[in-house]
Symmetry: C2
Subunit: 413 residues, 2 copies
Amino acid sequence: MRQSQLFTKVRKEAPADEVARNAQLLIRAGFIHKDMAGVYSLLPLGLRVVTKIEQIIRDEMNKLGGQEVDLAALQNKTLWEETDRWDDEAMDVWFKTELNSGGEVGLAPTHEEPLTALLSGYVSSYKDLPFSVYQFQTKFRNELRAKSGIMRGREFTMKDLYSFSRTEEEHQAFYERAATAYETIFNRVGIGHLTHKTFASGGTFAPFSHEYQTVTDVGEDTIYLDEASGIAINEEVLNDDVLAELNLTKDTLVSKKAIEVGNIFSLGTKFSEPLGLSYVDEHEAKHPVIMGSYGIGLGRLMGTVAEVLADENGLVWPKSIAPFHVHLIALQGGEEAADMVYEKCKAVGIEVLYDDRDKRAGEKFADSDMIGIPLRVVVSEKTLAAGQLEIKKRDTGEVIMVTEEELFNTLRN
Amino acid sequence: MRQSQLFTKVRKEAPADEVARNAQLLIRAGFIHKDMAGVYSLLPLGLRVVTKIEQIIRDEMNKLGGQEVDLAALQNKTLWEETDRWDDEAMDVWFKTELNSGGEVGLAPTHEEPLTALLSGYVSSYKDLPFSVYQFQTKFRNELRAKSGIMRGREFTMKDLYSFSRTEEEHQAFYERAATAYETIFNRVGIGHLTHKTFASGGTFAPFSHEYQTVTDVGEDTIYLDEASGIAINEEVLNDDVLAELNLTKDTLVSKKAIEVGNIFSLGTKFSEPLGLSYVDEHEAKHPVIMGSYGIGLGRLMGTVAEVLADENGLVWPKSIAPFHVHLIALQGGEEAADMVYEKCKAVGIEVLYDDRDKRAGEKFADSDMIGIPLRVVVSEKTLAAGQLEIKKRDTGEVIMVTEEELFNTLRN
């Protein structure tokens, strides 16, 4: 698109109350808007990034055989009473509100209860299982403090996947496939090299859950990483028994700050028993369904990529989730040639943001660095005189001069 | 996908408290789930329909030059006080809740206030205008009664577009383009022939707004239609002055029940003035921005299509928004050949639901009619013996026998 048409602009300053660097950068570059503490809106550039993250995740969820749904946010109190999670003591992040027609409802902080109840109307036989269901849906969490930018929002889009299995073995096999899908997702969005599968607290039904922790100094969590094996342990479960079980020794562990970008959890029959999700086996015996849940926050993932890949000049996006692949910049004398490159990019399906604004070169370059599109292409009187165009890679700073033909060969890759 | 894998099943009955036919059919066919009165979740088939509707609307919004965003649901009280819409007397559908850190917040029933406030940080000069912004976002409305199925939800996804213009003339030109886009959308989803642009109450800044009303006996609104011109008038504005202005006479008007599937509204400076969204013109004079808003509820649109196109056997989807294009049904003796047709459909990109379940023919046909996919393809011992496959059109009931080659020629169209 033409940058002159984009309603956002790069700003010099972030709001004074915004202390998180990821949110500062995303706000300054026009990706997000801060509505209130912990509440952010997605602007055109930010929505493009999140949509690409969503499509990568959807792709991997579909490969797992996940069936996509979209569950309601408003929650029926009765359901959550059956699992003892309606009380604010049990679930301290509830937002609750009143119907005008009478009665209290909640805003879903997660969706185990409504999905389990819904499925009890569809599952009865062993032939109905196993399967998995996922969604991209808005969660509401009434966080007491919300100072980590988009890392811990009061309202955020989450991909939540839930699995439904007949046996512990069947559950475990799906759990391992989900873990692999998570690794693929973090690789595809460009933070695989910094992200570790981390042993964390498991609850009633499993010795451990697993978190995916991305190492960064601004992380809220502390993990202990065995760099040789790549295995990490969350501080909360680190003790001698666990070390022995995982075959690790304290000496090789390095403490790291990290941010949790995903988690996978064995739920056992915690929800299926109270909510009546069960099946009858081949021998007419009834069993509760064995469940797992698997979450990724999309805004948090965008914030994490922003945080760990940005440099002193601004955001740095990997191509897979960049809002555009090319930032085409017209400088004085290059406008007409740049227009033609722009039209040609569109014609061949290259995603291009075209800086056609009447601004100085310095401002255009600074804005481009801040926005962080992977390739910058400059068309100016000078480059044209040399019969060439300038390509600069945002991540390495590498600059090459190419002919127009070479440019399109490069961009197509 | 294989129907044996789909977790939903066609049901004989809808919930006893569900009085709306559209919701009864959508629930029975497994498209939606009723969580509470006015609160529905989208199941895999329903989400596929809504996603297609969304993509048609997005396409038309992009053609208008609309920039897509995703605004937060949680609302800052202060903003809405500035436009006098925080009070429950002024806006009677608010859901409000409390932050754990203190302070009241609302759940957005619409987004004029936050978007106008947000844009005041980006718009200052006449050079920044005009533009338009849209989103697909969840609205929360605390309706006292919610008995129309998914036609009037307490929580629903809305496409809301907002336009920002410098002059009344510029606004009017966009308004007309938006009106044309709306007509295209209703044509594309298959209800154009029943949908009328209807003069409705305009508010402070315009003599009229326009609604798009789809004629159906279960409509909540009454419109007066001049069948010759296709012009309709909402009951609420019908009087002698309006008739004279529109050059209509009472005798030619026919009263019809209709459901409002969209509306477009000139907002003037109602929001831009109190919220400080203004621009400085070429002569250094400051003016408030002139706004318009343009809404379509996605669930309501799905419900309307369901309502007006369904027949006594179930849902009838137009190809443009059908969950799948082909319902392939294997009957006894045809399983192996059906498997091959299924694989071939997938290979050439035909969207197919494959009924590979171990069920009687009668049940498969009844389920297929209820789900309403445009083309049913039956593979059985009988059809194979004749060297042919049976295609039945869901809307007309027309049946033709074709060879496999002819089948794929038909499906590709």
